[in-house]
């Protein structure tokens, strides 16, 4: 199986108190922020690796995983880290974060998919910075491929996948045929959430996170192929279709008050907080 995994770098969520918005409010000042791969995209990478191996012998790769990102040269660090974790190849589409919106990303990915012809495209259900929850769905639409979003479990079947999706009322199960687009949720990295056709039924991974990169793979990562493409070569003259009008920091939290009894609490919840 050939899988394309889309990864976006985001500012480390632990940096939240370093985020600055200049007085003009026209952008977010990213100087001094530390970057990492969007956690949901890392889960997608882990999912792709699990789908291309027999869980009990993960060193033997049984498929091809291509990691893709759109961003400036520094994002190659993130791609190298994906390569060390187990991806076979990487592609960087050279651009800057502020030159992108969801539609352009989806359009660029569409072209890459047409070139690469993967059986499956995996990515996180959303990024933890913009939280748009858009690119996966848009890509499936552009490709006119079946899609399953918010995957919490994936079992490989002949010619497709059985995907358990987390929805408000519980789990909905979809059967998608290849080629397909799947976006993943947090629980996809639980020990028995993903099973490739080679992994024995009942097998559990001994961890429930994204795997660690082994040192030999870290040493080989710099030798694995990393191609760089130009955004314009993929999307032509297409430009941003959405614009950020203004950024504002959320209002600072106000000091709390002490209530004298339950009655006052209930009353405040009803009249002031309008929570009940």
């Amino acid at each position: 199986m050939k899988i394309l995994v889309a990864l976006k770098r985001v500012a480390d969520p632990a940096n939240h108190n370093k985020v600055k918005i200049p007085a003009a409010g026209d952008k977010i000042d990213t100087a001094g922020l530390e970057w990492q791969i969007n956690p949901f995209d890392l889960y997608a990478l882990e999912t792709a690796l699990r789908l291309t191996e027999d869980g009990k012998a993960p060193k033997t790769r049984l498929g091809e995983v291509v990691a893709v990102t759109l961003g400036p040269a520094e994002t190659e660090t993130n791609l190298r880290s994906a390569l060390a974790t187990g991806a076979d190849r990487a592609i960087r589409v050279d651009t800057t974060d502020d030159a992108l919106d969801g539609r352009l990303v989806a359009a660029a990915l569409q072209k890459l998919v047409e070139e690469e012809k993967p059986d499956l495209v995996l990515m996180g259900k959303q990024v933890v910075d913009g939280e748009n929850n858009y690119v996966g769905q848009a890509l499936a639409e552009l490709l006119d491929w079946p899609m399953a979003t918010f995957a919490a479990t994936i079992k490989e079947e002949a010619g497709g996948l059985l995907v358990g999706r987390e929805v408000d009322g519980g789990v909905s199960t979809l059967r998608v045929k290849f080629p397909a687009v799947v976006t993943v949720d947090l629980r996809i990295v639980a020990p028995d959430s993903v099973r490739s056709s080679k992994t024995a039924e009942g097998f559990k991974y001994p961890y429930e996170e994204v795997r660690f990169a082994p040192l030999p793979a870290i040493m080989q990562a710099k030798k694995k192929p990393l191609a760089v493409k130009k955004l314009a070569d993929l999307v032509g003259g297409a430009t941003l279709s959405s614009k950020y009008v203004k950024f504002e920091a959320p209002p600072a939290r106000k000091a709390g008050v002490k209530v004298k009894d339950v009655q006052e609490l209930v009353q405040k919840l009803a009249t002031e907080a309008k929570a009940i």
Binding site: G32, P206, F212, L215, M219, A221, K222
Partner: protein
């Protein structure tokens, strides 16, 4: 979420800017590596720290290991770490390729271990112990012997231990009594008792491999009669693992560092404990010292790492705890200020940084000598080896002793909460206490430094050290703003030289007891000067950084580095004066204090 326990930027500063480990990759045997490998290695360590080591940190202290049916029950996260380290290649990462390793520079691996140790020192020692034991076996054991054990140890499946100490033989290893009786089948039968053996017989590894010191029947007395053996808990045979008559008889209750058990072992109760000789007979202590020198540096690192975690916890508290008002404006209508605004609290925080970052630099200086030696030949190589050898007792003991004081100040920053289990400081305070004891007490390190390393070969290593420090001082003289500090370090170095001459003079007069009576004070002076040297080097590196038109964040980092540097020279370096004066006196006060005078 895991808190900050170590400053990642500072590790980068030391590795890349100060020691230039990248340039090691230009030379054999490190050419397979690159900055990218190192960065990814450190990123892995940070992730392991956050995800595997930190979460059970408090729990492991509250529920320490217990002995159940002959096995020591330890926290299950230890299996997870051993597995990750095994599968990741981290147990044999710095082992030469010829011994099945990946030859990452020791300096990088030391930074890797620092990150794990800061997240949870107890857990971090399990793979480190296996690495030490495996390294010993790989260096001195026969190939067939290694082949039986090393793959399982490198894979993190079998736990390595070091079994030296016995009830009558702690500091004095020459008094080891455990017996090894030769058989005609190639193995020896082992009989004896070991105490305080870390990580033995625990339940999160499939087997234990004890590297054990014993005396072959009829061996000469003293250090020249001690041999090294591999004594597995269960021995590999054609029909699988067979019990090897190694019994854990108890687990000690400790002050801190409780996640890692120390055990009492009884060997050969049923007459069937088999050991296999490693290397030549009667050479065991010599082999063991190779490992022990590495372990001593790791002890210094462990102390530093705990003090680093304690510093970050104290810093966080100090920023958020409002208490009191500026000394110059006591208006009660005014809000209280965060305690970090009080000069005395700043002093406590700066002291912690001075110890942590100074110690870390000294430890990495040692491992860097070790790496450089690998890339060099002849005299240049010998120079690095001699410096490493000389600095080892200081790189163990300065961090071990000072980290106790640093963590105590961290605890103090929290006031009453520092003393309560609501915050981690009280645990760090207990955990950090071990380092002056294991791998040779401070007293023993001091005898090793003054009685052996300083005087050996006519003081050759000591002259090299004076030369190294002198070179840094000359460089610093040329850096704007550092001239006075260079002069201050030169004065301290002169003082150390005078003390050394005075003491070696006593040795030449044959007054050996007087020469060594205050060796621990000598170690204190030596260690403080060595760390001051490291601080001067860091200051020069920071000044160079500032000249390179750094980003705002980097500029802030360099300025903060320089402020901790100035603190060390203003508050810590002058402390050599007391012990130096004492050492120059040599009236033999302690020697003359008869036992009955201890009322």
């Amino acid at each position: 979420m895991a808190p900050t326990v170590i400053d990642a930027r500072n590790l980068e500063f030391l590795l890349y800017e100060q020691f230039g480990v990248e340039s090691l990759t230009e030379h054999a045997p490190f050419t397979d590596h690159s900055r990218e490998t190192f960065d990814l290695a450190l990123a892995t360590a940070h992730k392991l720290g956050r995800e595997v080591l930190w979460p059970p940190f408090r729990e492991m202290d509250q529920e320490p290991p217990v002995l159940i049916d002959g096995r020591v029950r330890v926290h299950p996260s230890i299996r997870a770490l051993l597995r990750e380290c095994g599968q990741g290649g981290w147990i044999n990462a710095d082992v030469p390729v010829a011994h099945g390793g990946l030859q990452i520079p020791r300096t990088v691996m030391t930074a890797f271990r620092a990150i794990l140790a800061a997240a949870n020192y107890s857990t971090s020692v399990f793979p480190a112990l296996t690495a030490g034991a495996a390294h010993l076996l790989a260096s001195f054991g026969a190939e067939e012997l290694g082949a039986l054990y090393l793959p399982k140890m490198y894979a993190g499946e079998w736990q390595g231990t070091m079994a030296l100490t016995e009830p009558q033989a702690g500091s004095s290893l020459s008094d080891i009594r455990t017996r090894a009786t030769p058989t005609t089948e190639g193995h020896y039968l082992i009989h004896g008792q070991k105490i305080f053996i870390s990580a033995a017989r625990h339940d999160q590894a499939e087997n234990g491999v004890n590297l054990l010191l014993a005396r072959i029947d009829g061996a000469p007395a003293g250090v020249k009669g001690i041999s090294l053996f591999v004594v597995p808990d269960r021995r590999p045979t054609d029909s699988g693992l067979v019990d090897n008559d190694v019994t854990c008889t108890s687990v000690y209750h400790k002050v801190g560092y409780r996640g890692a058990p120390i055990t009492q072992l009884s060997l050969g109760d049923a007459g069937d404990c088999r050991g296999w000789l490693v290397g030549q007979p009667h050479s065991g202590l010599r082999y063991m010292f190779q490992m022990m020198n590495e372990a001593r540096i790791e002890v210094g690192l462990g102390a530093t790492a705990i003090a680093s975690a304690a510093y970050h916890a104290a810093l966080d508290y100090a920023r958020h705890r409002p208490q009191g008002r500026p000394i110059t404006s006591k208006d009660p209508a005014q809000a209280q200020v965060p305690i970090i605004e009080h000069a005395d609290v700043k002093r406590m925080l700066l002291f912690q940084r001075a110890v942590v970052e100074g110690s870390l630099s000294l430890v990495l200086q040692c491992t860097h000598y070790s790496d450089l030696a690998q890339t060099l030949q002849g005299d240049a190589r010998e120079r690095c080896e001699l410096l490493l050898d000389l600095l080892t007792p200081a790189a163990k003991s300065y961090p071990a002793e000072q980290a106790i004081l640093a963590v105590s100040q961290g605890l103090q920053c929290l006031g009453g909460y520092g003393y309560c289990a609501d915050f981690a400081l009280e645990q760090y305070y207990r955990d950090v206490r071990i380092h002056t004891i294991h791998e040779g007490t401070t007293g023993i390190q001091a005898l090793d430094l003054l009685g052996r390393k300083v005087v050996r070969d006519g003081g050759k290593a000591m002259f090299l050290f004076l030369d190294e420090v002198g070179t840094s001082i000359s460089e610093a003289r040329g850096v704007a703003g550092l001239g006075a500090h260079a002069a201050q370090l030169q004065a301290a170095l002169d003082r150390l030289t005078a003390v050394t001459q005075h003491l070696t003079g006593l040795a030449l007069e044959g007054k050996i007891d007087l020469f060594l009576a205050d060796a621990t004070l000598y170690l204190e002076v030596f260690g403080t000067v060595a760390v001051a040297w490291q601080w001067l080097r860091q200051a020069m590196t920071a000044e160079r950084g500032l000249e390179r038109d750094p980003s705002e964040a980097d500029a802030r980092f360099y300025r903060s580095k320089l402020s901790a540097f100035r603190f060390f020279f203003a508050y810590e370096l002058p402390k050599v004066e007391g012990p130096a004066a004492r050492l120059l006196d040599s009236d033999g006060l302690t020697l003359k204090t008869e036992e009955e005078l201890f009322a």
